[in-house]
Amino acid sequence: MTAKVVTVTSGKGGVGKTTITANLGVALALHSQRVVVIDADVGLRNLDVMLGLENRIVYDLVDVIEGRCRLRQAMVRDKRLPEMFLLPAAQTRDKTAVQPADMVRVCDELREECDFVLIDSPAGIEQGFRYAIAPADTTIVVTNPEVPAVRDADRVIGLIEAEEKGPIRLVINRIKPRLVRRGEMLSVSDVVELLSIDLLGIVPEDHAILIAANRGQPLAFSHNSSLAGEAFHNIARRLLGEKVPFMVLREPTMWKRIVGLIRSGEE
């Protein structure tokens, strides 16, 4: 096996990098891929809670780098998905504990053992971002249809291009079809035109994402139940080389909205 190393990054924080990494990991594992997800946000780890694996961590990325344990010992197996592992970030250290060469070494070791290594990059363009993209074969830039997020995405794309880190693909997250229709939000084609990179996926704003995060059970586990869950699976399939049409994002009908309101009241 020679894994593909995919780094998920964004520049701006809070656009959904961790959500997308967690869900892509789950979706790829459900498509029979052997996946390792790495939380590269040393000091601010969160991929573990998104995946509901926070109680199972013994060692972390920095322990591996500093030789306190073997890579295998730090990898947390997801019981729900025998083919997915998490390599957690250290919580009590900071980003100076990791060098780009360390990430390259860890990923080279993982390449032999799985199909995909997904790296959840920290926000920003400093050291954390640098070491997160160092081993990447492909990068996914996540943005929202908002001015600051698109601007930061553009900056990050420029930096990745300068490092010649292979193809850069775009995921636009938190699209609100109702606002787009009213002309009060940048559309998918606006963002693609501005950033001029290959579009990998679009994810609608979906309350189900928040609920899934509350439970530590990524939406991608049950992809039929929500539009966003389906979107994650589409992205995973495109990563696997399938041609999947982009979903048409329509605003929910009045009836669906009423049902949704009633349901959210019950839960």
Binding site: E161, L186, S187
Partner: protein, 90 residues
């Protein structure tokens, strides 16, 4: 009435949708970010281009436009310089 419309998220007739405004603002900001040419530098370039060209040919300095054009992720500086036609001799 208009104020009431605004209250409910409507906008005036001549006011463009905020999505369009966002796109136009981003277009400019990205061009400046990508090239690290600030609006001030762009003005300076424009003035110097006008000065250099005016030494050799007559141009309509007030109508000169220097701007960015984007093609994929490539940015170009485009100068549009109207030449003044020579007065016709008979």
């Amino acid at each position: 009435m208009r104020a009431l419309g605004r209250l409910f998220g409507g906008r005036g007739q001549d006011e463009p949708a905020s999505g369009t405004v966002a796109k136009e603002r981003l277009r400019l900001v990205l061009a400046h970010d990508r090239t690290s040419i600030s609006p001030t530098l762009l003005e300076m370039l424009k003035d110097e281009i006008i000065a250099v060209i005016s030494q050799h040919v007559q141009i309509d300095a007030s109508a000169v436009e220097v701007s960015f054009s984007q093609n994929a992720r490539e940015t170009r500086l485009v100068a549009d310089i109207p030449l003044l036609s020579r007065p016709k001799r008979r």
